[in-house]
């Protein structure tokens, strides 16, 4: 028997996971459910152990898993179905998306290149061309369709000194730029740092071209993921900061799992665990009392899409709503707010049909009258925005930091100058 480390034997087939699973919601098939995947996992593992090629249908159904963690979050026995699929991905040969990932994000120079590439998609002229290509076959069509969800060009202004920071907390935090966030949402990154300062933190920028490793991990390349993790951990240890902060749910979920990534590595296990304990999503650092009272009244209502890697993987659901409420923005809940939008790393490129079905379901669930869908992960922003554009809806997908920033500070002149 090959050595599979992720144990799913605690599954007692109760079936409580089924409605939480996006692929079960779309297909209605038990084989596309977490409980079904536990059955298929055993079969595929057995095939791999005895050197046989796994049944393509079984493997296909497993590979459909979005790693959204929704089933893991509701499972009474903590069966790690998503993690088990992830582990298998690296062992089943011939996955083209792996190459895609390695080419784009395998190294710091790759990340630098990636940030530049994706930024191209935000230029108006390029966007028109992109839109024309969305009907091309996969992966090009879906890729261009997704790129259509990119925001209009956000220049990356130079770092701005703190202007009106409140009373200092004397706590230093290290803010992670990320790959997609910095490529497409550089302004949101600056505003995030600024928000931290105004909350009283001393902010260090982790602006090196680094990836959290989540994409490599989801695609079944755990060693590639660990390479990223080692450099991030080492740099954090040297920094002396108290917390490592991200505004991207997917990165945060990965950082918090670093302990598990190095469980078998005596040299790094303790360091990774310690690092993971210092990771915070930006939402976790917002002390409502330190936010100023909003100056504008009666803004348009918004709705919230809970990013999977925030709500399911990190268990953070209420803070974004509390913050929006505090800054005076009414929230109208959408149906299935915590159902995956189909972004899921590069899933929308590797599984375009399922991704599109989930995207359209997500966009269809937006209640009437809202003008913004608020979320906390770059993949979700892109995916939902591309769906909104294709439907021609006058609704935008926005990061919560931008919503809060607009409500509290933008238009005061300083914002335009300092934050692009």
């Amino acid at each position: 028997m090959k050595d599979f480390q992720v144990d799913t034997s605690m599954c007692v087939h109760c079936g409580l996971c089924l409605p939480s699973c996006p692929t079960y919601q779309v297909t209605g098939s038990e084989s596309e459910s977490p409980r079904g995947r536990v059955v298929l996992l055993d079969a595929v593992r057995e095939a791999l152990s005895s050197g046989r090629t796994p049944d393509p249908t079984a493997w296909g159904a497993l590979d459909h898993c979005l790693d959204c963690r929704a089933c893991e979050a509701v499972c009474p026995a903590h069966v790690p179905v998503g993690h088990a699929v992830e582990e298998l991905r690296g062992l089943v040969p011939g996955r083209p998306s792996l190459l895609l990932n390695a080419a784009a994000l395998g190294s710091p120079s790759g990340v630098r290149r990636f940030r530049r590439w994706v930024r191209v998609a935000t230029r108006p002229g390029v966007r028109r061309i992109l839109r024309a290509g969305t009907s091309l076959p996969a992966p090009w069509g879906p890729m261009l369709s997704l790129a259509g969800g990119a925001p209009t060009s956000q220049s990356a202004p130079s770092q701005e000194a703190c202007r009106e920071s409140g009373e200092g907390l004397g706590v230093t935090v290290r803010f992670f730029w990320g790959c997609v966030m910095e490529g497409l949402y550089a302004r949101t990154n600056r505003r995030s740092a600024e928000l931290l300062r105004r909350l009283g933190y001393v902010v260090q920028m982790e602006d090196a071209p680094l990836c959290c490793g989540a994409l490599a991990r989801h695609q079944g390349d755990p060693e590639g993921a660990r390479r990223w993790a080692r450099s991030i951990i080492a740099r954090f240890e040297e920094s002396g900061a108290a917390f490592f902060v991200t505004n991207a749910a997917g990165c945060g979920a990965a950082f918090k799992e670093y302990g598990a990534w190095f469980r078998e590595d005596p040299e790094w296990a303790e360091r990774a665990r310690a690092f993971a304990g210092r990771v915070r999503d930006l939402l976790e650092l917002v002390d409502l009392k330190r936010l100023p009272v909003p100056r504008r009244t009666a803004p348009d209502p918004v709705t919230v899409h809970d990013a999977c890697h925030l709500v399911h993987a990190q268990g953070i659901r209420d803070p974004v709503r509390a913050i929006l409420q505090r800054v005076g923005i009414p929230v109208v809940e959408m149906v299935e707010a915590d159902l995956c939008c189909g972004s899921a790393g590069i899933y929308n490129l590797s599984h375009p049909e399922m991704a599109r079905a989930l995207r359209d379901r997500k966009v269809g669930g937006i209640p009437p009258g809202v003008t913004r869908v608020v979320t906390s992960n770059p993949g979700c922003l892109l995916q939902i925005q591309s769906g909104l554009r294709e439907r021609g809806l006058l609704v935008d997908a926005v990061h919560w930091v931008d919503v809060v920033y607009d409500a509290l500070w933008s238009g005061k002149g300083e914002d335009r100058a300092a934050l692009g």
């Binding site: 079936g15 409580l16 996971c17 098939s29 049944d55 499972c75 009474p76 026995a77």
Partner: protein, 459 residues
């Protein structure tokens, strides 16, 4: 034309499968001691497709089972050999909620909890709340006449269904019951509900919704012994209160749920946890609350608490309702029993279960609806060697025999299915069984719908 091609003609090529990998995921439901070997899975879109598929299968003599969430604990959705699984997961629309008449029209694949969620804006909810309510579907709830913690006060599924559209085995659609509550000569809807999918396939149902009670108070009582807790339960009932729910867990069950998803933080070394809830008009609720607290105190509750917030109440219930799934954290497999005993005999039943646990050297956790004496002993085991499974099943039969000896019944709410066929034959006389068999034969003379369930004769 071949069956395969005809099915494709009815539901389209995407919604029928015969692939081994897909079929392998349909071999069991939440009861894993027996599995079936289906030939096909079909996902019909609406009542018309269900009827067309069933007409076809009837003409060809192919057996079938209807499936919803697949959460049956007695094998209700285990497929017949070489049969067809009619998976109703796509038929999951809440067609209409009528807040004036307080009823909902639903398709069978609607998840129980989703209906309550949809009714919430109208101040209404669907009362029967099986522990699997986050996943089980209303079609399955009707088929199994599902219960749940809050059925003590509000009654089980049959008390909440007005009307249902059903496809008979030969494909004929019929409507049973009535929205005007004028009963027919024979209560065919009453026969259908709880028939475990052996009489027809439910394709639509009209169920009653209740106003959300204006007030509720939830209690947690910790007791040093099960005897004390049992006496407290009897005292609550004797005080003339019908609590909305009255639930007990023993130490092993508590160990599992405390390692699970929803940790309450129960104290160490307890004898039993009692959860009680009273609801209704606020004046009445606070009166009843005092009576409950008084009963708990008189019977030496070591700790007595009221839930301080909705969040705390939700946590207590989530902890309780995920108990079965959490057993996976104690052992790889469990076999849950569903015996019923007169509520006053709880201590006797629990000592009988403890004796079985010792005799078979099997750990048994107990989670049960104490208010109505519905026991759920969970027999824990680790391997699926035939010898182990035989021992587990035998231990289960002994527990049910003990329930019968105490004047109880072999099933409270999980159904007979495959699991309790032998036990049913012990509970009823041959004449009673013949009567039930005749009812089944009247609906399904060719024995094509969910065959092999309830009765031992294999039909």
């Amino acid at each position: 034309m071949r069956l395969w091609d005809e099915l494709i003609r009815i539901v389209g090529p995407r919604f029928v499968s015969r692939e081994d990998a897909v079929l392998s995921t349909y071999r069991t439901d939440a009861f894993t001691l027996h599995d079936g070997d289906p030939a096909l899975v079909v996902w019909p879109r609406d009542a018309g497709e269900v009827a067309a598929v069933m007409r076809l299968l009837y003409a060809r003599g192919v057996p079938l089972v209807a499936r919803g969430g697949g959460t049956s604990l007695s094998g209700g959705a285990v497929p017949p050999t070489a049969g067809v699984v009619l998976h109703l997961s796509r038929m999951n629309r809440i067609v209409h909620i009528d807040p004036i008449r307080r009823l909902a029209e639903v398709e069978p694949g609607v998840v129980n909890q989703h209906l309550s969620r949809a009714a919430h804006p109208f101040g209404l909810y669907y009362a029967p709340d099986p522990s699997s309510q986050q996943a089980c579907t209303l079609g399955g709830n009707l088929a199994e006449n599902a219960g749940g913690p809050h059925c003590l006060k509000y009654g089980v599924t049959v008390n909440h269904v007005l009307q249902a559209d059903v496809v008979l085995p030969d494909g004929t659609p019929v409507r049973m019951g009535s929205l005007t509550a004028a009963p027919g000569a024979l209560d065919e809807l009453g026969a259908l509900i709880g028939s475990e999918g052996t009489l027809g396939v439910i394709v639509r149902a009209w169920v009653t919704l209740l106003p959300i009670p204006p007030a509720h108070i939830t209690f947690m009582g910790i007791f040093d012994t099960v005897d004390d807790a049992s006496r407290a339960v009897s005292a609550v009932i004797a005080a003339g209160i019908v609590p909305a729910a009255l639930e007990m867990m023993d130490p092993l069950a508590v160990t599992a749920v405390e390692r699970g998803r929803y940790r309450v933080g129960y104290p160490e070394s307890l004898g039993a946890v009692l959860l009680a809830e009273v609801d209704g008009e606020s004046g009445r609720v606070s009166e009843e609350a005092h009576l409950v607290e008084d009963a708990f105190r008189r019977h030496s509750a070591r700790l007595l608490r009221r839930a301080e917030s909705e969040a705390e109440r939700d946590l207590w219930w989530a902890n309780r309702k995920t108990a079965f799934g959490a057993m996976g954290l104690l052992a790889r497999h469990y076999y849950v029993q569903d015996g019923v005993i007169p509520q006053s005999r709880l201590p006797d039943a629990l000592s009988a279960i403890a004796a079985v646990s010792r005799a078979y050297a099997l750990p048994i956790a107990n989670v049960f609806h104490a208010g109505d004496g519905n026991l759920h002993p969970l027999l824990l085991y680790d391997d699926q060697k035939p010898d182990t499974v035989r021992r587990v099943v035998q231990a289960g039969h002994e527990i049910l025999s003990a329930c019968l000896a105490l004047g109880g019944s072999v099933s409270g709410e999980h159904g007979i299915g495959i699991e309790k066929r032998e036990d049913l034959a012990r509970q009823y006389t041959p004449a009673e069984l013949r009567m039930q068999r005749a009812l089944k034969d009247a609906f399904d003379p060719r024995g094509l719908i969910n065959p092999g369930k309830i009765f031992l004769d294999g039909r």
